[in-house]
């Protein structure tokens, strides 16, 4: 819609950019952004305006304000990964996906907050502090929450965004940008999407370039896309997907950007409901919602059957070993010599490295590095690392079997419950939380499959709940078509942000139902 508005001249890229920047300022309490690139954004908007005036926009994304998670390299803009290790690091280059967005004329507003080095499921463990879920300040949530005492109002009641791409999810959810990039290694795009009520797409591994995305687990990382509707996600996907010679893990097949049908038809599809996804701890609300969703498909004529992915419960353990092992390797590059933080200790190279890493990494990161190194020790390699790789194959095979038997799409919950209040969330440590929260999203990363979170309904507490659709490898068109159909059926409510409304009535009115397609 906004793109059409830009074309028709109803609004200019400059105005759009200004409004978004203003909104970012007034929602600073959300802590969604680490860096706001105000000057460059305004310049990009100016260039875009010139193009529109000449009648030559670069495409649908020209002039559209976007945000990027702070673990993507952005030339000339600080990239921190929310860690002391990279504070002050100004990237000398753009990640391929960032470059692609800029080449399409998108306006980069800034870098969003995350868990340190994308490790975590709450966006609470970065050095710049936790991200607050915009829904904490929505009328829907406030109406349902009972203040315990007069002084204990919203300050202590706010809920987390989920993670680790919490900043990106919050940015999209609070209307400060029209699309944001996240990353997804174990659910890091879909988890915050579910908690913040936005669409979160994890593409098939190998579809989108990882060049410039600071790596966590090379065999599972993918850039993730966060938007307010499925059509927008399809558009962004169209501009990002495709082979990149700079990332040899991108497939060479020709990618054709697609448009989704206006009236998708799901009657010829077979929807699988994996019974193991009724995991312990799944809230009864979500279970009921999942069941209702299955009925929606059934009533539309689709074949809905129960399927089994028997190794599901080992997926999180397998992930734990493989992830920490790859992390141990990937974090080895941070030694203080070429970039990032460097310790004052100067006695020897090794002691400088050790001190730099002691000073630069937080507990979570250090913990994973040490665990990873343990699993990679000669005496443990077979029993842990190789064993996990074997289990990985079993998990991937589970999916192959199910898809091979005629199932087109799997329907599962995305999270075990709605967003937890921050005060509750921090009572457990990061690893326990990740193990609990990643359970439903993690297996798709193991098998490299595309998956998407579609906001479905509000919980009893007035917070978003999303459901997940998992598709076949490289079948994003089918996955997004089904997702769009589902989105139309559930009609997820728009967030009613009160505080913001007071300050920016005009901005809010314009962007309330804003998608750019």
């Amino acid at each position: 819609q906004v793109s059409a508005a830009l074309k028709e001249g109803r609004v200019t890229p400059g105005e759009l950019c200004q409004r978004c920047l203003a909104l970012i300022k007034s929602t600073r309490f959300l802590n969604a952004y680490i860096t706001v690139a105000e000057e460059t954004a305004l310049k990009q908007a100016e260039e875009s305006e010139k193009r529109y005036k000449r009648g030559q926009p670069l495409g649908v994304l020209d002039g559209i304000p976007v945000a990027v998670k702070d673990n993507f390299n952005t030339a000339g803009i600080e990239t921190t990964c929310a860690s002391n290790m990279l504070k002050g690091y100004i990237s000398p280059y753009n990640a391929t996906v960032v470059q692609k967005l800029l080449d399409q004329g998108a306006v980069l507003l800034g870098k969003t907050n995350l868990d340190e080095f994308a490790m975590g499921s709450g966006s609470t463990d970065g050095v710049f502090g936790p991200v607050r879920n915009p829904w904490s300040y929505s009328r829907q949530y406030k109406e349902k929450s009972v203040p315990k005492s007069h002084s204990e109002d919203e300050e202590s009641n706010w809920v987390i965004t989920g993670g680790s791409s919490g900043g990106s999810a919050a940015a999209v959810s609070s209307f400060t940008c029209f699309a944001a990039l996240g990353s997804d290694t174990g659910g890091s795009t879909r988890n915050p999407a579910a908690h913040c009520g936005v669409v979160g797409l994890k593409p098939t591994y190998g579809l989108i370039s990882r060049h410039g995305l600071i790596p966590l687990v090379n065999s599972m990382d993918v850039p993730g896309i966060l938007t307010r509707c499925v059509d927008d996600a399809a558009i962004v996907l169209g501009s990002l997907a495709g082979h990149d010679p700079k990332d040899s893990t991108t497939i060479q097949d020709n990618f054709k950007p697609f448009e989704l049908p206006d009236l998708p038809d799901v009657s010829k599809l077979s929807i699988g409901i994996p019974k193991e996804y009724q995991a312990p701890g799944l809230s009864s609300e979500i279970l009921a919602l999942w069941s209702k969703a299955a009925d929606l498909f059934k009533n539309a004529g689709a074949k809905v059957i129960e399927v089994s992915l028997p190794h599901t419960r080992y997926s999180i353990v397998c992930y734990h070993v493989l992830c920490t092992a790859e992390v141990a390797s990937n974090m080895a590059r941070f030694d203080g010599l070429e970039y990032g933080h460097r310790s004052e200790v100067n006695k020897s190279t090794e002691s400088m490295y050790a001190a730099t890493r002691r000073e630069g990494f937080n507990d979570v990161v250090r913990g994973r590095i040490l665990s990873g190194n343990y699993f990679l020790l000669k005496q443990n390699y077979e029993n842990y690392f190789v064993k996990a790789q074997k289990v990985r194959r079993l998990i991937a095979n589970d999916f192959l079997k199910v898809f091979g038997s005629g199932v087109d799409i799997l329907l599962t919950p995305t999270t075990l419950s709605d967003a937890a209040p921050y005060m509750e969330f921090i009572k457990e440590d990061n690893r326990t939380r990740s193990a609990q929260d990643d359970i439903l999203t993690q297996a798709a990363n193991m098998a490299g499959l595309p998956a998407i979170n579609v906001p479905t309904a509000l919980s009893e507490r007035g917070l978003p709940i999303g459901l997940q659709l998992i598709g076949r490898s490289f079948q994003e068109k089918q996955l997004l078509t089904v997702a769009k159909w589902f989105e139309k059926q559930v009609k997820f409510p728009v967030i009613q942000l009160e505080e913001v409304k007071r300050h920016n009535h005009d901005v809010f009115q314009h962007q309330k139902s804003a998608s750019f397609s």
Binding site: S348, R357, N373, L377
Partner: protein
């Protein structure tokens, strides 16, 4: 096999990251316990999986130089440099042994 002080010390040296305190050590112990669940799975005859793209051929390009000459760019982010060199403290000096290190593990 278990996380003895010797193994922990070895890990600290390999990873060049320290445990910091009891919590750090506990964290590792719990991680190992958690990972032990893998032993329940029967992986008889199963090949380890390195990548989900194992059935595809990797893209190989011609061995031609297409970019580079960005010395200044690359040096910009380094804290200590001299001309076109990154400067490191003296090498080939091993980390002090456990007894002499400033590490939490000393007490264990």
């Amino acid at each position: 096999q278990a996380a003895t002080v010797a193994v922990l010390d070895h890990l600290e040296q390999l990873a060049l990251v320290d445990f910091r305190d009891t919590e750090g050590v506990e964290r590792l112990r719990k991680a190992i316990q958690f990972a032990d669940q893998l032993q329940e799975v029967n992986t008889e005859g199963v090949e380890p999986m390195d990548s989900v793209l194992e059935d595809r051929c990797l893209y190989l390009r011609e061995d031609d130089v297409t970019e580079g000459n960005c010395t200044n760019e690359l040096l910009k982010n380094a804290k200590e440099k001299v001309e076109e060199y990154f400067v490191a403290p003296p090498g080939n000096i091993p980390l002090p042994k456990l007894e002499e290190r400033e590490t939490f593990l000393k007490g264990s």
